[in-house]
Amino acid sequence: MKPFFVLLRKEWRELRASRAWWVLLLVMGPLVGVSFISAVRTYAEASGLNGTAVGVGEAFSPLVGIWAPTFSACELAAAFLLPFVAIRVVSGDRQSGAIKIELQHPMSSFARVGAKALVLLGGWLVASLAPAVAVLLWKSYGGSIYAPELATVVIGHLLNAGLTIALAAAMASISDHPSTAAILTLTVTVGTWIINFVAAIHGGVWERAAAYTPTAMVAEFQHGLIRLDVVLIALALVLTGLTLAAIWGRLGVAVRRRVFDSAGVFAVAAAAMIACTFATASWDTSESRANSFPEADEAALERIREPLHIQANLAPEDPRRSDLERRALSKLRRVMPALQVQYVSATSIGLFEQSSQHYGEIWYELGGRKVMSRVTTVEGVLEAIYELTGVTTPIQNGAAEFRGHPLAVPPNGAATVFYRLWPALVAGAAFFEFRRRA
């Protein structure tokens, strides 16, 4: 057997011997269960269960109503549990001294880190059986499953787990002690939240950077949107983290050299990530086309060849701005990659700018022509663009509109599965695993 596969087998065995991983598995069931049960109840009530009024079509999308909340448990586990499992796997060899033996094999340090990362990803997939059980339960209730959007959510969480593993591996390699690695990892995680927070206040460059934080990335996948730039940047970050882990795992190399190599990796990674931001391809995999305009509108917009410039006089914290961005401009960017958007405001909240003359105005400019509107809804934005370009408003195909999949069924049996069966199975498996070794 090739040494890499011997190492892979050893890492898998070490993962199974790690209590942190068993705790992750144990917690995963109830975590997913809480989210799933609550989501199914809400979905059922919106669908008319117990005599409540039926909701709107969008609420009946399993993507938004079921998968996003159910899989959010994975996001929680990836942020707060998975790092400890990864740190245990990477730091364990250093703590026990096994690294001093393994390092003497001519295998590259990157291959060694790669084996650990693959096994950790495998461990995460095992933990992901909990949301997989939720999918099966939903199907058993008669719920609708649209495979592309469900696959998108799964890919998003897999990428997020990859990011966590790479980050934790890098920190565990750089620091001498697991507790330092844990603090550093959580610091980076909290740092990305701070970027999101600052972006919400200041906008601008921060807003662009915040679009690539794990939280923002997962949110887009949970809405059925795959953006090529986000995927590429996430992969670049994963590769950067694993390379740093490999560099700092070479104990026999002088620290100065390792610092120099790390600086090189950072430079290359930064350049690659900046290049990735220019990738504009994206795919809306949601059944409800949640990230797209109606097909007739998209066809009309695609015919506009000149670059459209939009200037919105709205402050970063103004709810109208987030409405405009989320409901209209994010969709518009997908159809018109050359779109230029400029936000103008003197303050971050906009509260005291309401009285200023131009606040709230949204200016559309194309080929020297200008149109102003204050409406931030999809319809308002499209109307302004059509007025500017002279395009006749397309006739919508009502039959193609997403009507939703209401399901007024309570989450029968889910509590038993997630709160009793899952923990019992995990505890039983852990018991046999540890007893076999004793």
């Binding site: 050893k10 001294g97 001093k100």
Partner: protein, 247 residues
């Protein structure tokens, strides 16, 4: 076989190894003797590629060896480690055997026949602890399990840091016997030992290290003559006296 020339290692302002030079001959058991803190472990970690060397070179038949080349020529067995603590001794021995199997040995160095796992287990009296986890072993048992790993790894030279540490008298004698047997079969040994009695029992030649400097290198008669010449007293065959005279 191998020659280390002017090896230097610094930790910030502290110089742990000062221009350390010595040679290792094929098939011998070379003892590295020195008090605690003399730089024995640092020297072994530098040779084993676990620590970077700040100066000096290692030559093999006059040709400089990179850290990667060294990794295929020698194996360093650290002291005080408990690798893969939750795994059994049996698994650990099988793992190192499979993992290092076929990892290139330096073409210019002759590789002694690799013993079978069963032989090593028997020689080091490991049968009763084969299915125990490494974390459950006593210090002496762990030391013997580590030695077994070192003997199973196919490298021409085995560097063992304190191979007798934690062993009782009987075990020390048995381990010394096993090491001699493997040296006779062609495996070269470089052992770091701070108990001079143990060193005298097993080693063919000695490198005396004190304060990060080599104070002498040679067989007991050679070192004894050197000590006598330095102190002006009569030569002795007591390694302890020789060591005290030279350090």
């Amino acid at each position: 076989m191998l020659q280390a020339t002017n090896l230097t290692k610094r930790y910030g302002r502290l110089t742990a190894l000062h221009d350390v030079s010595f040679s290792i001959r094929e098939g011998e058991i070379l003892g590295l003797i020195g008090p605690n803190g003399s730089g024995k472990t640092t020297l072994f970690e530098c040779l084993g590629g676990v620590l970077p060397i700040d100066g000096g070179i290692v030559l093999q038949n006059g040709r400089p060896l990179t850290a990667r080349d060294r990794a295929s020529a020698l194996f360093y067995l650290p002291d005080g480690i408990a690798p893969w603590p939750s795994q059994t001794v049996r698994w650990a021995l099988e793992f190192v055997q499979q993992f290092f199997q076929g990892s290139a040995a330096s073409a210019a160095l002759s590789l002694a026949p690799i013993p079978s796992m069963a032989d090593v287990v028997e020689q080091l009296d490991l049968e009763v602890i084969l299915d125990s986890t490494i974390e459950a072993l006593s210090k002496g048992q762990r030391k013997r399990a580590l030695l077994a790993m070192g003997l199973l790894i196919p490298r021409p030279i085995l560097l063992a840091d304190e191979p007798f540490e934690g062993l009782d008298l009987r075990q020390s004698r048995d381990v010394a016997e096993t090491l001699r047997m493997h040296a006779a079969a062609g495996r070269t040994m470089f052992l770091s030992i701070h108990q001079i009695g143990d060193a005298a029992r097993v080693c063919d030649r000695f490198v005396l290290l004190s304060g990060g400097r080599v104070c002498g290198e040679g067989t007991l008669p050679e070192l004894s003559a050197l000590a006598a010449a330095r102190s002006g007293s009569a030569a002795t065959d007591d390694l302890e006296e020789v060591f005290l005279a030279l350090t």
